[in-house]
Amino acid sequence: MTTAVATIDHHHDPTTTTGIPNKKLLMWAFLASDCMFFGCLISTHLIYRLHPPPGTPPAREVFSIELTSFSTFILLMSSLMMALAVNAIQKGNLKSLRWSLLTTIFFGCIFLGCQVFEFTNFVHEKHLTITNSILGTTFFTLTGTHGLHVLIGVIWLTGMLIYSFTGRLQEKDAIDVEMMGLYWHFVDIVWIVIFTAVYLLEYI
């Protein structure tokens, strides 16, 4: 009957063999797998970048580095808010958790909005579509897959925000937020790699 314990140890789960919570281990293993997914897509982009067929528009003329730098910054800041959310729930501070989650969702949505704007702009103004060149094919597939990850994260965070009001998310459920945080930081880190390999590389 250990329901009412004064402090909860958020870094050790006595019911597992290693003390690592099952959900955390599951997320780490999944992220290892996701690394390979993105690794294959980024490799595809980099390989095709070396063999542009004649007539491919130079990527530098298509990209708008100012906008992408801004959305990258916003995504990085969302990681900060995510870390604060994990910290808040581990201290049992639900009010702070809600604000942090809300800001993370907001920043995630800004990033997605920038991406939607960027895609529309590329298609209509710069005439780069998914079918008309190999650059368009690899660019939209890779960044679109990343955008899908952000979207899933935003939906997941929204669910958590709702749960924080219904009472299903309390200090003892900190692991759920921490697991989500791992996912969110990973999606961020992948974006740093994509930003470097897809965008910055064109400006060297």
Binding site: M1, T16, T44, I47, T56, I130, T137, T138
Partner: protein
Amino acid sequence: MEALAKSDFIAKEEKAAKPFVLWRPSAKTGLISWLTTIDHKRIGFLYGASGLLFFIVGGIEALLIRLQLMVPNNTLLTSAQYNEMFTMHGTTMIFLVVMPIGAAFFNFIMPLQIGARDVAFPRLNAFSFWTFAVGAIILNLGWFMKDGAPDAGWFGYAPLTTRTFSPSHAIDMWVMGLQLLGVASIAAALNFIVTIINMRAPGMTMMRLPVFTWMTLFTSFLIVLSFPAITIALIEIMMDRLFGTNFFEVSNGGLPILWQHLFWVFGHPEVYILILPAMGIISEILPTFARKPLFGYPIVVFSGASIGFLGFGVWSHHMFTTGMGTAATAAFAFMTMAIAVPTGVKMFNWIGTLWGGHLRMRTPMMFAIGFLWMFMIGGLSGIMHAAAPADAQQHGSYFVVAHFHYVLIGGSLFALFAGIHYWFPLMFGRKVSEFWGKLSFWVIFIGFNVTFFPMHFLGLEGMPRRTFTYDSNMGWNTGNFWATMGAITLGVGVAIYFITLIYTYYKGERTIKDPWDARTQEWSLPNPPPEYNYAVIPTVHARDSWWYTKRHLDEYKKETSDHLKDDEGHGGIHMPFQSIYPFFAGCGIFIASVGIAIVDFADPAKYPGFWGPKVATTIVGGAIMFISVVLWAIEGNDGYHLHLNPDGSVRGEDHSHAKAH
């Protein structure tokens, strides 16, 4: 303690009322119980049953291939039908037979071996199975449609699979089916990784794990890290086919060689995904029937790890003839030769286990020794392929067909057959007849060798793979005739094997607990194991834990009674609730996949713009999947508690909504 648990139960009863959508199925028998099961043993059984069913399908395809090639210029199958046969034979045997039968053992045996009551995420486990089932159905739907079955080979080389060269939906179904099988495999593998690392019984340190559990862990890591490569490759080909992208469109700068690289980055680790579970099974059977501990346990484990590790660095030996350049060819040839070393080490460890043992030649042992011999032949012809100049001659010939059937039938399948016989008494409480078991072994063994040994010579004489017929003056007549005779014998052997299994399932001789006098923890259970597996979680003191327990019974009895008190103190045995949502999610995935792969793009005149039957079907399926997953999250991972009598029978179920520990 009992009173406390009871009062807790009554206090929580009031808020137990939940909306109807969060219906908690509790059926223990009948269809609903199977659709909602999250019991790892039942899921293992479902995997095994599907694997054996598809084994019959793949076997019929194989027999048709062999009948077509029995005599020169045969007209039993058309060339188009022949293409469907060899494509589906390969795809079925790899993804729908050897992998699910392996998964059946992972599910059924592994949690028992580590002393756990279930896997870490039981509902995710059910989801894996239903996704697998949907993938298997999508792959095989083509047989019943005018588009026909997939026909581009199990490797599906681009650009043969692009819309230009394969306009029908057959390839769409192949692409979609394989993607679902990938999702199912990755989800299952993540579950097994967490289970093995985190749910071991007290005292079950990593270096005390049974070798089969070790191989499950390595296989799971291989799945998690290699399946993304094929998933991305399949997504790329799917984008090409559905949206007209240029990944493999040569005229717009696509490179078909990329498909080969991505495919084999997955494809070679896949080979080890097929053989490592087999090696694990063999490492359990040989010590049991040789009455000796496994020779060099740490070396067997570490060589399994190095096989898994090196397995990621050898993929291009499938591509020696693509002109990669001297340096790459030499590097991959070297790595391929290197991977033979840990495999050879294992072989010697198994021989060392047999050496000086008191061998008991029961049916599982026959198959296990058959494995050693046949897998070694397959390994030796594999080493020949590592030499790039020799491989350039053998590439695409029947020599390769002979090689991989020796490792896949003589290796994987013999071990899986051995495992089925070995664990059958534990799973069903009945024992397969020794006479019929041994008869099936000898017929399979002879049929297998008569089928595939001549193929070495056929290949060296230049007979190409995937050819649907040949002229009578090529000098291939005798070899092909004998191979077909062998295939028929092999078919008879497999039929004997299956009929014996089915007979035993219903009418076989009942066995005592632990009939083989085995060493690992799963044999401490009554057969068949109860739903909760262990009435008392065992404490492990040694590597061959059950063997140790059998020799320290007093210590065991004291620990058991102590732990029983502990369990009751925690409110009994925690059991997770059954759930229907994994199955509903699978249904949603099925509808969405039919939309993506099969429904035609609409005539733009009839459905202007975005909306049409294809998009609608996909969105409806996707929505069903999304809602199921949301409900799955909302219902939560609650469970109930079981209270047992001292003899192990269930005294009562406590359905207060105890949160999962």
